[in-house]
């Protein structure tokens, strides 16, 4: 059920992010969400993209990448929406490794991406609580609806 995130290793040097984004752009891939985690020596770029296969092929040629399933939830764009979801997860003792969110993709909605160890468990708990999670197809459909 989960959606696919591509993570990529980036050297902590000027221009490295630009290089990665340029090659994705030139391949005609649209970025839905982006997050960059940094350490003293390197960065980890995490991406949700319109075309996972193409992104893997393009980026994988130049840098180390990894595909990871993550849980994505569409929520209403109002105060407290994220809190509701987090309450459900913490109530079920699901540990979140990292999280990032994006808004404005559609009017009045926001998306939040969770990295958890047990995807199936997190998704089932969310669905039991009436919170829908997205699939890769949803991302593709959603993108085509924008056109």
């Amino acid at each position: 059920m989960a959606i696919t995130q591509i993570s990529a290793f980036l050297e902590n040097k000027p221009g490295k992010l630009a290089e990665a984004i340029t090659s994705i752009t030139e391949a005609g891939i649209n970025i839905r969400a982006l997050n960059l985690a940094e350490t003293k020596d390197f960065g980890i770029l995490r991406l949700i993209v319109s075309d996972v296969a193409k992104a893997k092929e393009t980026l994988g040629k130049e840098i180390i990448i990894k595909e990871t399933p993550v849980v994505a939830v569409k929520m209403e764009d109002h105060s407290g929406a994220l809190k509701e979801i987090l309450d459900v997860l913490s109530g079920a003792n699901v540990n979140i490794e990292y999280v990032y969110a994006f808004t404005g993709a559609m009017r009045d909605s926001a998306y939040v991406v969770f990295r958890v160890d047990d995807i199936a468990e997190a998704e089932s708990i969310l669905s039991q609580n009436g919170i829908a999670t997205l699939k890769d197809e949803d991302m593709t459909e959603f993108l085509s609806s924008l056109k």
Partner: protein, 434 residues
């Protein structure tokens, strides 16, 4: 006034030294041939019997021993006497992969300590001294060797071992230490700490220091001498032969006298193995003339240096060697510990990293920095920082247990380590020690 610990031998004529050496080598080769099957086998391969060695001139016929032999024969293969005759084991510093275990009889210990005593007396030491030893004690030869030498001279010995600088300074000041024995980098560090604590060089009673186990520069020597208000002497040695005291500096501070009545030195061409004439630069090879427990013949030290028999103003007649000017292998000495790139490579592969790495060694504020840059591999990469850091930590601790010292690990992008003409540059040593 000239000071010698054993004047009759330290200032003996060349003829007398040669006489002693010739007598000892004949006995020693026979002893090794009879007691060390590993070496007898090497001799037999060359068609040699003890009768072929009649003087030190014949040493050049003997087969070499290298660290590889020591590893192959580990632990007992080069033992020269019944184990019950041995009273001590010492071992090389922290290099698991290439650890050397050396055995000593009581006579070997006495000889070693006498060599260290010669070094202490050459540095101006008498039985009036308070000798502070902050080399490590234990398997490392630094502490035990100088400790024994200090006893032989009759100094009041402070067996401090390394570390705990505040306590070192307290003992140095309160107990009026006059001779300091440690690594040069630690001496420099003590000097800096003394200054930080408000002590002037004249506030301590030190007059001399005996510093070895790692390379140091002239500038470093001057810095130590100034900050501690002492004269700094170099000392050289290796566990394979005994430990510190194989050679030592005299008041000339220009080259180290080799204790030739115990260790016969040759300089060879590291490529061909051919013996080079005096004054030429090459690899230093030692033959232990009277060791019982671990009697190595023609041991290749891999240290590159030059021998000189020029007359020395100190009156000692024993041949002098320069400080090692480099290595004929890729060994580095970092914080006094021997490090081989091959060990680093082995750890990387074992821990699932690529063998694409670069070692950068530098000296900042008189202490060695040690960084290892390792190229990322897909196996190590994760979307979670914590996971990458975990494998980084695992690598660090594997390095620490292999090397005995802690490198700083940096994970870098694949193919980012500079390759010169296709071959990666494995070691960048910025210390400019020669």
């Amino acid at each position: 006034m000239k000071n010698y610990y054993q004047p009759e031998i330290e200032t003996a004529s060349r003829e007398r030294i040669l006489e002693i050496q010739n007598e000892k080598i004949v006995k020693q080769v026979k002893h090794v041939y009879d007691n060390v099957p590993y070496y007898r086998n090497l001799m037999e391969k060359k068609g040699l019997t003890p009768e072929d060695i009649k003087s030190v001139d014949d040493i050049k016929k003997l087969p070499f021993l290298t660290k590889d032999d020591l590893r192959e024969a580990y632990p007992y293969g080069l033992l020269g006497t019944d184990i019950k005759n041995c009273v001590r084991i010492q071992s090389t510093s922290g290099t698991t992969g290439k650890r050397v275990v050396a055995f000593y009889t009581q006579k070997d210990i006495d000889m070693w300590e006498e060599c260290c005593a010669r070094a202490i007396v050459a540095a101006g030491g008498t039985d009036e001294e308070v000798c502070q030893i902050c080399y490590g004690y234990g398997l490392f030869t630094g502490g035990p060797g100088l400790n024994g030498g200090s006893h032989k001279v009759g100094c009041l010995t402070l067996p401090m071992s390394s570390g705990n600088t505040d306590r070192q300074i307290q003992f140095m000041i309160d107990l009026n230490a006059t001779i300091l024995c440690c690594t040069p980098s630690y001496a420099a560090y003590i000097g800096e700490t003394l200054a930080e604590q408000g002590y002037r060089p004249e506030d301590n009673k030190l007059k001399a220091g005996i510093f070895g186990a790692e390379p140091w520069t002239r500038e470093m020597r001057e810095g130590i001498e100034k900050s501690l208000g002492i004269k700094a002497y170099d000392i050289y040695g290796l566990t394979e032969l005994s430990g510190p005291g194989v050679s030592f500096e005299c008041e000339e501070q220009h080259g180290m006298h080799i204790n030739e009545d115990h260790f016969y030195a040759e300089i060879i061409d590291p490529e061909t193995g051919e013996v080079l004439p005096e004054g030429e630069k090459g690899e230093l090879v030692f033959t232990s003339l009277d060791k019982e427990g671990f009697p190595l013949l023609r041991y290749r030290t891999k240290d590159i240096c030059i021998l000189s028999r020029e007359k020395c103003s100190c009156g000692r007649t024993h041949v002098k060697m320069t400080k090692p000017l480099g290595r004929s292998d890729d060994m580095m000495i970092i914080r006094g510990v021997n490090v081989f790139p091959s060990q680093i490579e082995a750890v990387l592969l074992k821990e699932g990293f690529t063998p694409n790495y670069q070692i950068v060694v530098d000296r900042v504020n008189n202490s060695d920095t040690f960084d290892i840059y390792v190229e990322f591999s897909p196996e190590v990469f994760s979307d979670k920082i914590a996971e990458i850091q975990q494998s980084e930590h695992k690598l660090s601790s594997a390095m620490r247990s292999m090397l005995g010292i802690d490198p700083k690990i940096h994970l870098v992008a694949p193919k980012s380590i500079v390759r010169s003409e296709g071959k990666a540059v494995r070691v960048i040593d910025k210390r400019k020690l020669v």
